[in-house]
Subunit: 213 residues, 2 copies
């Protein structure tokens, strides 16, 4: 199944978490199978789009039967890499960093927050849940000793690139960036940006044009 | 120019803030015009995609000249509805709500945080910058008296729908939702969700498949 993934477009990949979220709700409600038409009503994509998306992974839909909800949920989780655990650190222990540290859903999905880092002496030594805020000077050492996979950047825009450079030098595998800037990292490091302003500007577009999609 | 907007796909709309961000950087660097090829190198979309996207708004690209950076930046801002101000409230004054209240960039773009609301008596009366945290019981009254356009939901998943219902009843125009759930609101209310887990799962996909896009 994974063999063909190289061909799957990023647009499809970005829709997979949404499928997975709706499938989890169906499982909670005791629904074991669902047609692309029924799924279309719930999720808002066309039935044809759904069939096309899910055909990428083969073998879950059968004409006249529909999709096996549990099998599809699990398969999408595997494709998304949610069948393993990731050690993460949060760099920048301000409000946003603390909000992410407090967000237990990520941990339930396998993203384990091991530590937070900051340069503010007032924060160093504090704990959010059981996650300690450590002096940022010790970050490289910590990454190497604790097999950290993902660095979550919650600093301001000005510090973000320097933090990313240090993460890269420490052989981090992935960066989840919340700083409102585009980071420059080598291709071997996977980078995902959360540009909140892009989402907000989409909302202002919708407000201005009063558009329903 | 706005006449044709009804036809523009959401995929194009969601790329506009990125164009705008890169154009702002070019302006900062004193670049007054740029070709789609040069823009492609910076922004990472193909030159053909860029021409196609920007053709939707007409009149900014000229063969052999390229794009007028300042004019295009301003036009995209207008299309995105960034030529006016929006009064916003933040519902839920925990870490995430406070992070957003502290984020002055949104204010610079015209999204004015007027107040925050919470049910926690320990938070009520506190201020984040000059934004007061008010008792959630007073939310409806406040929205009506202060001409609030956008409600930003920073509560947990369980409270989010009830908050959305109250915002809708108070004739809010738009909702920016950070709670990890899909909200049910009438079509006249514009809704934009920030599903952070979708972004995180995209990163885990990239890590698992070691994919560079």
């Amino acid at each position: 199944m994974q063999k063909g993934n190289a061909k799957i477009s990023m647009a499809v990949i970005r829709r997979l978490p949404k499928y997975r979220r709706y499938l989890a709700e169906l499982l909670d409600r005791g629904v074991h199978r669902i047609s692309s038409r029924e799924l279309s009503k719930i999720i808002g994509f066309t039935a044809s789009q759904i069939r096309q998306d899910l055909n990428n992974f083969g073998g879950f839909g059968q004409q006249g039967y529909g999709y096996n909800v549990a099998a599809l949920y699990e398969a999408i989780g595997k494709i998304l890499g949610l069948d393993r655990k990731y050690n993460t650190i949060i760099v920048g222990a301000g409000n946003l960093g603390q909000a992410i540290a407090n967000y237990t859903n990520f941990e339930k999905s396998g993203f384990i927050p091991k530590a937070m880092f900051d340069i503010n002496p007032k924060l160093i030594g504090l704990k959010i849940r059981d996650i300690e805020i450590i002096d940022a000077d010790k970050m490289e050492e910590y990454i190497k000793e604790n097999n950290v996979d993902i660095g979550i950047i919650c600093t301001n825009k000005e510090q973000a690139q320097a933090v990313a450079d240090r993460l890269v030098k420490s052989n981090i595998k992935g960066i989840w960036n919340f700083a409102p800037t585009d980071l420059d990292v080598p291709e071997k490091v996977m980078l995902e940006n959360v540009h909140l302003s892009e989402s907000l500007y989409t909302l202002s577009f919708l407000l201005k044009h009063n558009r329903i999609d």
